[in-house]
């Protein structure tokens, strides 16, 4: 993870395929686990933990979107809507049937997967730009339906309060408890994604991305795998929506509008398309960006601006920087933060004895 041997010194296949190539790798994984499972939740206060929770939710969604965009090469500008499908499915189940959260989570994910597969159907005929526009239409249509069908949205405000999840008799109400709850799903999502990509299905996804005609010729059923990619990715999105709903305690379509779809696309582009670690970096980066900007502007903005303009300026600076970063990464570093991370790692591989 962090360290690397400074050459290829392996002599057996077992050594090559080992999960931990060096003893220190084991320690690095352990250290990261301790950091996320003990240090972060036990030292941060509620405010920072709520930010950490937002990051956790974003990671699940970004990893899912990366399966579709990064690994399979299909564009989706409709992931915000898939999240809302998951969120409203779970909220309705929880309120109407009183079902426990594992059921809601699974149902939300599956419902989103079904809707995602339907929206993905045009991908069988069209790709690239046309698919992007088709999923954009999906976003608007789903949003409109949720907003206008009162059976789903539960009234004029289109927001449904949801009770906190509970494990046994314990209600997960504190930010710390929610953090552990979400972290479990982050780990599941990451492990699930890494294993998916190593599997037959994942290889098929990558083959379709790299050259769809060649993939078809070597016997990959493109129709099936494209729909599968949409379904899996939307399943992640649905789960993200449910998790976000449980985190907020309310399902509201305004949390899943077009801007959210764009946010998630920005995460995987800035993080790095087709990389698990990149999704994580991107999710952290995009989630923290508005918070850091607001803090900085509130802290230092008075030097340049008077308070009135500052209030007006903060959201605009956020939007501008967000867009500028997307453009910057696309032009300068298309492989994203993940590439920067690799460069740093490679530099330190032979440091301090380069040459």
């Amino acid at each position: 993870m962090i360290h690397r041997e400074c050459g290829v010194l392996k002599t057996t296949y077992e050594a090559d395929m080992a999960l931990y190539p060096l003893p220190i790798a084991r320690w690095a994984v352990l250290a990261v686990a301790v950091l996320f499972f003990a240090v972060i939740p036990l030292t941060l206060n509620d405010y920072f933990l709520s930010i950490a929770n937002l990051v956790c939710v974003a990671i699940v969604g970004a990893v899912g979107l990366n399966i579709l965009v990064g690994y399979t090469g299909q564009v989706s500008i409709g992931h915000g809507a898939f999240m809302s499908v998951g969120a409203y499915t779970a909220a309705n189940l929880a309120n109407r049937l009183g079902s426990p959260w594992p059921v809601n989570l699974l149902a939300g994910g599956l419902m989103a997967a079904a809707v995602g597969a339907v929206v993905g159907i045009p991908s069988l005929r069209i790709k690239g730009l046309y698919l992007a526009i088709a999923t954009l239409a999906g976003q608007f249509i789903i949003e409109w339906i949720i907003n206008h069908v009162t059976f789903i949205s539960g009234g004029v405000q289109a927001s449904i309060p949801v009770a906190r999840p509970r494990i046994g008799s314990m209600v997960l109400s504190s930010q710390r408890a929610i953090y552990y709850f979400l972290l479990a799903f982050v780990v599941l999502a990451l492990v699930g994604n890494m294993n998916l990509i190593r599997s037959r299905v994942g290889r098929a996804f990558i083959a379709i991305r790299d050259q769809d005609i060649a993939a078809e010729i070597i016997g990959i059923n493109i129709f099936r795998y494209k729909l599968l990619a949409f379904a899996v990715s939307s399943f992640y999105a649905g789960v993200t929506g449910v998790l976000y709903t449980y985190f907020l305690g309310i399902a509201n379509y305004e949390q899943f509008q077009l801007g959210v779809s764009v946010d998630y696309l920005a995460m995987i582009i800035i993080g790095g398309l087709g990389s698990v670690l990149g999704s994580v970096f991107g999710a952290i980066f995009i989630t923290l960006l508005p918070i850091v900007i607001r803090r900085l502007m509130e802290g230092f903005g008075w030097i340049l601006f008077d308070p009135g303009t500052l209030l007006n300026l903060i959201p605009n600076v956020r939007v501008m920087l967000f867009g500028a970063l997307i453009i910057f990464f696309l032009i300068v570093e298309p492989e994203g933060l993940n590439r920067l991370w690799r460069n740093i790692r490679n530099y330190f591989r032979i440091w301090p004895f380069a040459y």
Binding site: R125, G128, A137, F140, I141, M320, I326
Partner: protein
């Protein structure tokens, strides 16, 4: 004439006018796509910025209208050139998703720049035309819509002529056909890319003035850009007549469905119906009514 027929005709005429005004904005999208194969997801933001510049010039310098319009046009043309040079030229040859995301990023930047430099409040953009609708039998036509439709038609015809007859237009069509062959024929492809973006700037400036007068100038003006996609998909991404026809279809469909369906579902059909239509079009005829059939069989 019965009331039902009159109501329908009213919706229809309204749809035609609005549709032609959509066509003007869609034209900006088509021009760029035709010449440079780039997709502009920031078309609505172009319109918003143009509206803000013109309204700002009227407001701040209390300039006469024609000066403000001129400022708007010059700003947008310069903006188009610079944008091509700084951003889009570097993205040539990259996958579609890169250009799509870059223009989405650009949209975001413009949404931030607009309100923070030119003010966040809704500005008016007064034009010297009467407010009272023109009555034609059962039809009520607001003069601004008539003006918008006329300007649209003039510019659509002008660009049609430009592409068919003028030397530059023919060069652009050659580039759209094959960039390599165009280069081999001695056409300076990069300069024409800049020109295409500048032309989009002109169209966006006009769109900004007309739509800005109709809706008021603030950040929400950029939402007009979302209607561009149904229009260009229906008409064909690279076709100027397609933009007109697509605009008309979208304008009529959204007005007629809104007129008949809105009372039952509580509004919002206008934003919904064009997209349903677009999905159908994508299923049946993805390259649009007049578009080039270059969709690959997958």
């Amino acid at each position: 004439m019965s009331d039902a027929v009159a109501f329908f005709l009213l919706l229809l005429s309204n749809g035609v006018m609005i549709g032609l005004m959509y066509a003007l904005i869609a034209l900006g999208f088509v021009l760029v796509y035709k010449a440079t194969d780039a997709v502009n997801f920031a078309q609505g933001e172009f319109v918003m910025i143009a509206g803000l510049v013109v309204a700002g010039a009227l407001d701040a310098f209390s300039a006469p209208l024609w000066v403000a319009v001129l400022i708007g046009l010059i700003t947008m043309v310069a903006f188009g050139f610079v944008l091509e040079r700084v951003m889009l030229r570097r993205l040539i040859g990259r996958p579609v998703i890169a250009v799509v995301m870059a223009t989405i990023g650009l949209a975001s930047v413009l949404r931030g720049i607009g309100p923070s430099t030119l003010g966040a409040g809704t500005k008016t953009l007064p034009l010297p035309i009467p407010d009272d609708p023109i009555v034609l039998g059962p039809l009520l036509i607001p003069p601004i819509q008539l003006l918008g439709a006329t300007v649209s038609l003039i510019f659509l015809a002008a660009f049609g002529w430009f592409f068919l007859k003028s030397r530059k237009g023919i060069a652009m069509r050659a580039i759209a056909d094959s960039q390599q062959v165009a280069m081999a024929m001695g056409i300076n492809v990069e300069r024409y890319f800049g020109l295409a973006w500048a032309m989009t700037g002109i169209v966006s400036a006009l769109g900004g003035i007309i739509w800005g007068n109709l809706l008021g100038v603030d950040i929400n003006l950029s939402l007009v850009g979302l209607k561009v996609f149904p229009v260009v998909i229906l008409g064909g991404l690279d076709s100027i007549p397609g933009a007109v026809l697509g605009g008309l279809i979208v304008g009529i469909v959204e007005n007629v469905t809104a007129g008949y369906v809105d009372p039952y579902v509580g509004g919002g059909t206008k934003d919904f119906a064009p997209y349903v239509l677009m999905i159908l079009a994508l299923m049946i005829r993805p390259y649009g009514i007049f578009g080039k059939k270059i969709i690959e069989r997958i």
